[in-house]
């Protein structure tokens, strides 16, 4: 059934359809409406779950991680400073190999204070052992939350689903809400092999000495590497049941494209229009929307970019002293490639600044009109 709903509401519906058992969260703009709606859904009985209204995000993640270890399907949501406050617990959840699913509504980290969209909050958590899936539409957010539980519970690593603050979290779109029985067929109840129980007592997370710790990490690394296959398979199954799939990255007008614009999240919707306009003028440009950032689909991107002349990376984030995080990852991935494109790096949309068709046009013009990149990322929209 199609309903008009915001990205955040789509997330809440995805959580409800996934039959989550324990939710714990702390409000933060622009995530807040997710947990507000989930509170109502739990209170009016549409969902049978415990909702624990904790006093901080650190506690929210500690709470859902422990509930997950006790065998419950769990969910939390946050943004920006909340995600940063969870940092320690993000490592803990992945280290304990817990299938926690979290939605982060991407928002800038201060200072100065800023509540608007930027992807630097979640990209800064790229080394915490979570899968990261970036969404472009409310529909994709709902579908990805349901998929995330299947993926997490199979590989035993937590999954972070990202929605751009306001541009996606607060924008209403028609969303096809799947039937509960269809979702139940896709997502069976969570039955972990090991859990905290008095019937078979185990100790979780005691000290692993230097001779053993590296082996724990290596197991997690193998799981992370193997997750690409799982993400693809789960997405394929979802598509066969619900008619929608998204892959590791989405391609638009890429078949014979010599220049590729690569970005994540809602900027891709705007970019699609601009790319189409260039195509009308006979320019061989295409769009690649990266959906999965962790694990980084290096092999797949090498294959996809093989023989292309240029790739323009639009980062809605910046690592001070290094540049755009997506661009850094892409350049590292391309290093061993035999026929790699030149990488043009752009920083835009920080602190929620609009990425307009003109911004993207500017990026494409610079990429088309220069034979080589500037050597440093080009910042769009900085006041002179």
């Amino acid at each position: 059934m199609k309903k008009l709903m915001t990205g955040n509401s789509a997330v809440s519906h995805g959580v409800m359809l996934s039959r989550v058992e324990v939710i714990s969260a702390y409000p933060i703009t622009p995530q807040t409406t997710i947990v507000e709606e989930l509170s109502e859904i739990c209170a009016d009985g549409r969902m049978k779950a415990k909702f624990i209204r904790v006093e901080s995000e650190h506690s929210a993640m500690a709470c859902v991680a422990a509930a997950s270890a006790t065998g419950a399907r769990v969910f939390t949501a946050t943004s920006s400073h909340g995600l940063a406050y969870m940092h320690e617990m993000l490592h803990w959840a992945s280290g304990t190999r817990l299938p926690v699913v979290m939605v982060n509504a991407n928002r800038t980290l201060g200072s100065p204070w800023n509540i608007w969209c930027e992807q630097g909050d979640s990209l800064a958590q790229r080394d915490t052992g979570w899968l990261q899936l970036y969404c472009q539409s409310a529909q994709e957010a709902l579908d990805t939350v349901i998929q995330a539980f299947r993926i997490a519970e199979e590989i035993l690593l937590p999954v972070m689903v990202l929605v751009d603050g306001f541009f996606l979290s607060h924008t209403a779109e028609p969303v096809d809400v799947p039937d509960q029985d269809m979702v139940d067929r896709f997502l069976p109840p969570f039955r972990p092999r090991y859990k905290l129980t008095t019937e078979d007592p185990h100790t979780f997370n005691i000290m692993a000495d230097p001779s053993l710790f590296i082996s724990f990490r290596h197991e997690a690394q193998k799981a992370m590497e193997g997750s690409k296959k799982v993400v693809r398979r789960v997405d394929g199954e979802y598509k066969s049941l619900f008619g929608r799939g998204y892959g590791l990255f989405e391609k638009f007008r890429c078949n014979d494209a010599e220049v590729i614009l690569l970005t994540m999240g809602t900027a891709a919707s705007t970019a699609r229009e601009v790319i189409e306009a260039y195509r009308q003028r006979g320019k061989k440009v295409g769009l690649c929307r990266l959906r999965m950032f962790r694990p980084f689909p290096a092999e797949e991107l090498i294959k996809f970019l093989n023989g292309r002349k240029k790739v323009a990376v639009l980062d809605r984030d910046n690592s001070l002293g290094a540049g755009g995080i997506v661009a850094q990852e892409l350049k590292a991935a391309l290093y061993p490639a035999a026929r790699k494109p030149k990488v043009f790096e752009f920083i835009a949309g920080l602190g929620g600044q609009d990425i307009t068709p003109e911004t993207i046009q500017g990026i494409i013009e610079i990429t088309l009109n220069n034979s080589a990149p500037a050597g440093v990322p080009i910042w769009m929209g900085v006041q002179k």
């Binding site: 714990s24 500690a62 422990a66 997950s68 007592p201 997370n205």
Partner: protein, 294 residues
């Protein structure tokens, strides 16, 4: 307590505690009182850090170790998951030291108490950050030496009154406990297990290494703390009903302070000052007492 009960041990040998440490006695007593239908949530600090190294563990209960600040939140999560499965018979026991309770963990603890989560929170108080090597905490008493309160700059603030902080949450049950009074300790844990809502058990845990006393004196110092009125044994029900469990002999505090090297830098008049403070606190506590159980 019958002989058969003594066999129900849930803390075995193999933990890495220092000789004479009170904490494993606290934990052993607590586990024994609560029994096998218990899930323990532990954290950084002496117990979390030295209670076994993978793949061996001296703890025979289902145990989840969580980062330092998060016992209150993690125990709430375990309780919620059990409740969702309809398991109301398993008790959840959160465990932290004074650092994890008075300081870094107080936010999650206060929040869990305010939500009246149905689990037992056990604090073992050794009055400093002992696991990292004797740094002052807000549980360190006035006048004590630690590595961060050196002789020229001894702790100049009184100990935080964690019991009154927890009582102010109006939770179902708060009790102090001492390893020198094991029957009282066991009774309190069993009472906590039978009580619904949030329970806070506060156990005194002498530390020979950090307090600088000879390791055979652990139980004696635990008893002296009660008998000098420094650590009164009492319970508070529903945030208002105070019950005294042990009428102290009122031994002078100097008897308790003198065997401890951490108090060896006190200046003239300091012992008297500590005595005055203990007497004042005792008077304040007695004014709240509804009845005395002797």
């Amino acid at each position: 307590m019958n002989a058969k009960e003594l066999l129900d041990e849930y803390l075995g040998s193999g933990h890495g505690c220092c000789p004479g440490c009170a904490m494993p006695i606290v934990m052993r007593t607590a586990f024994h009182a609560l029994g096998e239908n218990t899930i323990a949530v532990i954290t950084a600090g002496c117990f979390g850090t030295i209670s076994g190294t993978f793949p061996t563990s001296p703890i025979k209960l289902a145990t989840y170790n969580t980062p330092f600040a998060s016992v209150g939140a993690a125990a709430s999560g375990v309780r919620a998951a059990l409740d969702m499965k309809g398991d109301t018979k398993t008790a959840v026991l959160g465990v932290a030291g004074d650092g994890g309770t008075f300081d870094i963990g107080i936010q999650a603890l206060s929040a869990a108490a305010e939500r009246n989560e149905d689990f037992i929170y056990l604090c073992y108080d050794n009055e400093a950050y002992m696991n990292t090597g004797i740094q002052r905490s807000s549980a360190t008493p006035w006048g004590a030496w630690t590595t961060t309160t050196p002789p020229s700059n001894l702790k100049s603030q009184p100990k935080k009154d964690i019991v009154e902080i927890m009582v102010a949450h109006r939770i179902a049950y708060v009790a102090t406990a001492s390893i020198a009074y094991p029957e009282d300790f066991t009774r309190k844990l069993k009472k906590a297990k039978e009580t619904r809502g949030f329970k806070f058990i506060y156990a005194f845990s002498p530390c020979p290494v950090g307090w600088r006393f000879s390791s055979e004196l652990t139980i004696r110092l635990a008893r002296l703390a009660v008998q000098t009125k420094i650590f009164p044994l009492y319970e508070v029900e529903n945030g208002e009903r105070y019950i005294l469990n042990e009428e102290p002999e009122g031994i002078p505090v100097s008897e308790y302070l003198k065997p401890q090297g951490r108090f060896s830098f006190l200046r003239e008049g300091d012992m008297e000052r500590i005595q005055e403070n203990v007497d004042r606190e005792w008077k304040r506590l007695m004014s709240r007492m509804e009845r005395r159980t002797l």
